[in-house]
């Protein structure tokens, strides 16, 4: 029997482990893990849990690292390997620390605990049903169990408060599966119903902690268990206090992996869909538009249902694009005229139908949208096309759907590629913003010079300072998480971290809004400032890739420099720290009147003496609200 390609991937990983090369092979491991099954990922996690993060960093100093502290009620050591494997899938390196069973109250409740001392980025507090049933007396009934549930939930809410006061990390909680071996100990249905109600109210309280606390994320285990993953193995629970199965912990780790990825600015932004066999059944090339399956009939209904899911994703800020091997005209005709299509032309930022290799089309698409290739997720039913994209464009996440359209949705959503901590108003209008952008590109093509184009674009820019409680906080946080190219230092901030920063009297945050003749760009940038005495420092400067190179950054920087001078500053410093993607802004300060005052290999500091500040570019209509909401500077 010939080994499957996936098995050979696992054996490559094993070879790497045996040869002691896991650390030096770390960058390649991301691609090795891309297509392992859930079971194989558990094995891969076993191997990777032996990896010494310090050794990986010695070999590859640029690898992004997350400190992940694991605590909870039961034995959780199997989770460390799964977390390591899931983070490695996203090119991240996990530095895990596992507390002994039952220590979560002490770990989270004591600000001096050894857990907080590790300066975690993510804290996984894994809760399980035994934290309730270990506490109830015998005989138990729904009422005394309900009291235990309420008490536990109150303790956890208190721990969440303490957590937020102590660290700017993210706390991950989870709901508790209700097990049949517990519920069935009550022999009457009325009591079972009362137990179930009290249990689910407890879970609802956990979920609400994730709504109300900016630093808390609650992962609901119910949908994961409903996929058919056993919640517990009574033997492991009884004998080793491992109250959740390694399989469920591995599935949970996948959710955590996506959460970690979204924290580190690697959000996926575009869903690129094949058409024939993916969005509709049959081949448009071989059939007329009437011949494709998109409604009616078993398969037609399945494709119809899948299109509804795509539309649902699109409504939340995921940019949709189609890339198909077809002639463009019949494809357009289907999107415009087919009576049963859910998705229409206006749902997409680009519909590309031609006979070029798909990887070339993906490269062009990323260029047009001014996004990195690694922000694309590609879906196709063809093994050939999927293999080609994996090979040619390893940064693109590839999802191969099968010949069974009823499974498309499950396949698409099995990995939470578009998971985000929260979405903002900006997300609901993102498709329109990008479509405006493509209209701007066509408009640009009609001019001979860039200057002429810019002067006709009628750009309006507003800069303003924000305070704690400002409605713009979620969007500013999102900009730090999603912006890669025009991000001078690469510092990411969760909303809770941003609120904490705004409480610091020496810090201020400036927002940049822009609009032009094609529409409102919304909140497109942020500048993080610090002011001590006569020195002002720009800790970070961010601008959405949709709007840079139009003079907006020069206009905003000049406004900030003038404001600094008007409030008595004598110099302004600016920092740059290299990341894998911000090379193009490394001379930003030098090009704008700053001189370099310090530098090492990856970072540099620049200084502006405020003697000669550049004027606002003529084509920009700037509204300066920096004075309106500014702070009393400490001098």
């Amino acid at each position: 029997m010939t080994p499957s390609p996936v098995t050979s991937v696992l054996s490559r990983l094993l070879d790497s482990h045996r040869a002691g090369r896991l650390a030096s092979d770390y960058p390649a491991i991301r691609d090795m893990l891309a297509d392992l099954t859930d079971e194989e990922l558990v094995t891969a996690g076993q191997l990777l849990s032996r990896l010494d993060p310090a050794e990986v960093l010695r070999e590859h100093p640029g690898t992004p690292v997350l400190n992940v502290a694991i605590t909870g009620y039961g034995t959780l050591s199997p989770l460390a390997g799964s977390i390591t494997a899931e983070l490695a899938r996203h090119g991240l390196l996990a530095r895990t620390r596992v507390s002994s069973a039952g220590s979560y109250v002490f770990d989270l409740g004591d600000p001096e605990s050894s857990l907080y001392a590790t300066v975690p980025d993510l804290v996984l507090c894994v809760l399980d049903p035994m934290m309730i049933f270990d506490e109830v007396p015998v005989p138990w009934h729904p009422e005394n169990t309900g009291r235990v549930i309420s008490e536990k939930m109150a303790v956890i809410a208190g721990l969440a408060d303490r957590f937020e006061a102590t660290t700017s990390a993210t706390l991950v909680l989870n709901t508790l599966p209700l097990l049949q071996r517990h519920a069935a100990q009550l022999v009457d249905h009325r009591s079972r119903a009362r137990l179930g109600a009290a249990w689910h109210e407890g879970n609802a309280r956990l979920l609400r902690l994730g709504v109300e606390h900016p630093a808390v994320v609650t992962i609901d285990l119910a949908p994961l268990v409903a996929e058919g993953i056993p919640a517990e193995d009574p033997r492991l629970s009884q004998y080793t206090r491992a109250h959740l199965t390694p399989q469920l912990l591995a599935r949970y780790a996948r959710e955590v992996g996506h959460l970690a990825r979204s924290r580190t600015g690697q959000a996926k932004k575009v869903l690129v869909l094949d058409l024939d066999g993916t969005l509709w059944g049959g081949s448009l090339d071989e059939n007329s538009a009437d011949g494709i399956e998109v409604a009616g009939g078993y398969r037609g209904e399945a494709f119809h249902a899948f299109q509804r899911v795509i539309k649902q994703l699109g409504s939340q800020g995921v940019l949709l694009a189609a890339v198909s091997k077809n002639d463009i005209e019949p494809v357009r005709a289907v999107f415009r005229n087919h009576p049963d299509m859910v998705l229409r032309e206006e749902d997409f930022v680009r519909i590309i139908a031609n006979w070029d290799p798909k990887h070339d089309n993906l490269i062009q698409l990323a260029t047009d949208l001014n996004l990195g290739l690694d922000s694309l997720v590609f879906v196709d039913d063809s093994a050939y096309e999927c293999g080609l994209i994996r090979h040619e464009l390893p940064g693109v996440a590839v999802i191969q759907v099968s010949a069974e359209p009823a499974l498309h949705t499950t396949r698409l959503l099995r990995d939470g590629w578009f998971d985000a901590r929260e979405i903002t108003e900006e997300d609901h209008v993102r498709v329109a913003r990008y479509r405006d952008e493509l209209a701007r590109k066509d408009f640009l093509d009609s001019f001979d010079s860039l200057d002429e184009y810019l002067s006709r674009l009628e750009i309006k820019v507003t800069v303003a300072a924000i305070r704690d409680g400002d409605a713009a906080i979620p969007r500013v946080s999102q900009l730090t998480l999603r912006t890669n190219q025009f991000n001078l230092t690469g510092v990411r901030m969760q909303p809770a971290e941003l609120r904490r920063l705004l409480a610091d009297p020496t810090a201020s945050v400036v927002t940049i809004r822009a609009a032009d003749r094609f529409g409102d760009n919304g909140l497109v940038g942020a500048v993080f400032m610090r002011r001590i005495g006569n020195d002002a420092t720009i800790d970070n400067f961010l601008l959405s890739c949709r709007v840079f190179s139009r003079g907006i950054e020069q206009a905003c920087l000049a406004a900030i420099l003038r404001e600094a001078r008007n409030t008595g500053a004598t110099r302004v410093f600016g920092s740059y720290r290299a990341t894998s993607k911000n090379e193009k802004v490394k001379d930003f300060y030098l090009r704008n009147g700053f001189t370099q005052v310090a530098a090492n290999g990856t970072s540099a500091t620049f200084c502006h003496d405020l003697a000669d500040i550049q004027v606002t570019p003529q084509h920009i209509d700037l509204t300066n609200r920096l004075g309106e909401n500014s702070r009393e500077y400490h001098r």
């Binding site: 558990v42 076993q46 032996r50 034995t75 492991l236 004998y239 080793t240």
Partner: protein, 75 residues
């Protein structure tokens, strides 16, 4: 899984442990990289391979790899 060598191969291939016949009789704390956590994964792996239910309590009481193997194959 028919022999202890098959069992050792599973430890090598699925858990990445560097073990051979000479380690079979050693106390577990003398086996390089052995961790009691491995038993949790082993239970799933061995039940999949042997197709029968294993008595975990017996495996937990085992002091050597040989004894774990014996517990796993005892029907």
């Amino acid at each position: 899984m028919n022999t202890i060598d098959d069992f050792l191969a599973i430890l090598r291939d699925e858990l990445g442990l560097q073990v051979s016949t000479q380690h079979a009789g050693l106390k577990l704390d003398q086996v390089t990289d052995w961790d009691s956590v491995h038993l949790l994964s082993l239970l799933t792996i061995l039940e999949r391979r042997t197709g029968h239910s294993i008595q975990l309590a017996k495996m937990l009481e085992a002091a050597t790899l040989e004894e774990i193997y014996a517990a796993a194959v005892a029907a």
